[in-house]
């Protein structure tokens, strides 16, 4: 029982990174129709930025949680304005290629500048240690990660359902032609939405910094799992991305505990099962895959 509680927390903590990043991937796909291959690289940049800011300016995790997503927002908007927007009218494959190329470029630039061994990162002492819950010591940092992820997901959900901006974005995500026909200027929202999605990947990176090896390659495997998360949740579905993220985290943790060798395979088995049973994913609509 104790072990199950530990595995659950570990799964949800890992799932938090997936959920946050997948959320960004989902809004970008929803509004722009771009499969952002560079999302793993943006996650990596978030972690690297946190490490560099700590090293050079002494900016702690608390500051990084605010500053880095803002930097990434600006960076994302620049990427959209300078690069992505020109390919939007063309086949979506072009933007996949572009973002794939961008990934290679970013990874190599980081390697060139910061080497391949990774960067050190110290988290604030408040977040170290463990709290006792029902006789089990749970790491404070993991609980913190889960808390932040849930708060941000809730915030995004409120933004999407309770504000005019959110409704426009949702309309653009779910029925772009209809939204356009009703006179909503979808185009205006393209740049900020892309930046917002990138900021979410950056935030996931900051949260991962104390917990994962901060290297140029850290996003390479992450993006593959992220694609699985989005497929499981339903391409373009915001709720699906979040649920899928936590679900995959849990599958990974319990897989590691009970079938260690198959832990990673299980995620893709889950994906295959979901796709067979519900081709559009758990929360996707059938038309989405048409």
């Amino acid at each position: 029982m104790n072990a199950v509680l530990q595995y659950t927390v570990q799964g949800l903590a890992a799932g938090s990174f997936y959920a946050l990043a997948a959320l960004g991937l989902a809004v970008i796909f929803g509004v722009l129709g771009v499969v952002n291959f560079a999302h793993g690289a943006f996650y990596m940049l978030g972690a690297v930025a946190a490490a560099v800011l700590l090293d050079t300016l002494g900016l702690s995790l608390w500051g990084a949680l605010i500053v880095v997503p803002l930097l990434m927002l600006v960076f994302g908007m620049l990427v959209e304005r300078l690069l992505v927007q020109w390919l939007l009218p063309l086949d979506p494959l072009y933007n996949l290629l572009l973002t794939f190329g961008l990934t290679l470029l970013l990874v190599d630039l980081v390697k060139r500048r910061y080497g391949v061994s990774g960067l050190p990162y110290e988290r604030p002492d408040v977040l170290s240690g463990r709290v006792q819950v029902g006789g089990v010591g749970l790491p404070v940092y993991q609980l913190f990660v889960i808390g932040v992820a849930l708060l941000v997901c809730l915030g995004v959900w409120l933004l999407m359902t309770r504000t005019r901006v959110g409704m426009i974005v949702r309309a653009a995500t779910e029925r772009p032609e209809l939204a356009g026909a009703l006179g909503i200027n979808v185009g205006r929202w393209v740049t900020p939405v892309f930046g917002f999605g990138v900021a979410l990947a950056g935030l996931a990176g900051v949260l991962a910094a104390p917990f994962r090896a901060i290297t140029a390659e850290m996003g390479s495997d992450f993006i593959i799992i992220l694609f699985a998360v989005v497929v499981i949740g339903g391409l373009g579905s915001i709720v699906g991305a979040v649920v899928g993220g936590f679900l995959v985290g849990l599958v990974e943790a319990f897989g590691q505990a009970y079938a260690p060798t198959f832990a990673q395979v299980l995620i893709f088995v889950l994906m295959a099962v979901v796709v067979l049973a519900r081709p559009a994913g758990l929360f996707g609509r059938e038309e989405a895959t048409a």
Binding site: G115, R212, M218, A253, Q256
Partner: protein, 418 residues
Amino acid sequence: MNKRRNAGATALMAGLTAGALVTAGCGAGGPSAGGGDFTDDKVVLALLNDASGVYKDVSGPNSKIAIQMAIDDYQEKYGDDAVVEDIEVTSADHQNEPDIANTKAQELYDREGADIILDVPTSSAALAVATQAKNKKKLYMNIGAGTTELTGAQCNKYTFHYAYDTWMLANGTGTVVTEEGDKNWQLIYPDYAFGQDMVKSFTGAIEAGGGKVGGTIATPFPNDNFATYITKAGAAKPQVIGTMHAGGDLINLVKQYNESGLKEKGIDLAVGLMFISDIHSLGVEAFEGTIFTDAWYWNLDEKSREWADRFLEETGDRPTYAHAGNYSAALQYLEAVQAAGTDDADKVVEELEGKKIDDMFLRNGEIRAEDHRVIHDVYLAKVKGPDDVKEDWDYEEIIKTIPAEEAFRPAAESGCSM
């Protein structure tokens, strides 16, 4: 729509992979032996290693500088008496792929006229190069790879193994940690050749030391999430958890071990393979108290320190034992060439075999003739706490010296016949 995108991505990947294979190219032909005692009137040392990937900091381009230092030292020592004037160093990136290593090795031997290939991390790549060395009858000194196969079943006349191997790591860390009281082990390892090899070696060493391996946990490779594996290993209540991970995976694992609270519960972490560059990247805090086997340490004594100072001046970093090993291997090769008066591989091998060496890298060193294992003293090291660090890169406390005769697998057990 989605399917089309995915198909596009797949096609893209396939295309890129194919492209990489084509550019790797294939070297063929090349010059044959010319007149005189030296082919092309020069000696060419070739460094083949990972110039851009995960093992770049462990050895990488800085080893080329180390080899150049060896050439400079040789030329300074012999001056006009040197048997060969023109000595070059060249390098190639094998990206840790056995296929690429295989092609590059042929290219280096044939087209670039390499007399010796040095380094080659990643066991599978190292074995591919050993086969080429055997076929081309040219020298190969491995520094970066760990497999005991190089001096075991797959040994050959032209291949030498420097620095470390999995037997030596397991014997050092496994035996000594067990003998010092941590009898009950759990092993976590990456599920590929190196990890499996390490588990086998460690299990043997631990049992020989009177301990037992309570369980082994295989993990995918590469992997970034080890939290549950560690919890599971800890749940078996061992005295020590041994990890066979390297590079980025090791850093992930150590971060998550520190998070797990097992350290406070008195469950130690022993690391199978670690380089000083790993400690440098993550900081001593994260590794404090970790025990591992080291082939060499820059601050071992006056001799090693003096060399490390020169290396620091050239590169801005302190050397790992792979850097020092490349220097020593290059220097000892040139000494053998000097003694033989030729770069003819068979004559140089004769000079090398059985040679006893003491240089800044090898203490009580000997190039064993039976299996070409280069034996030397190795060290059990403990990572210092932040308060004990007196200067940059001052990370290790040497807690035990393992004498050369005990540090490596006995030649009789190697299974090597040349």
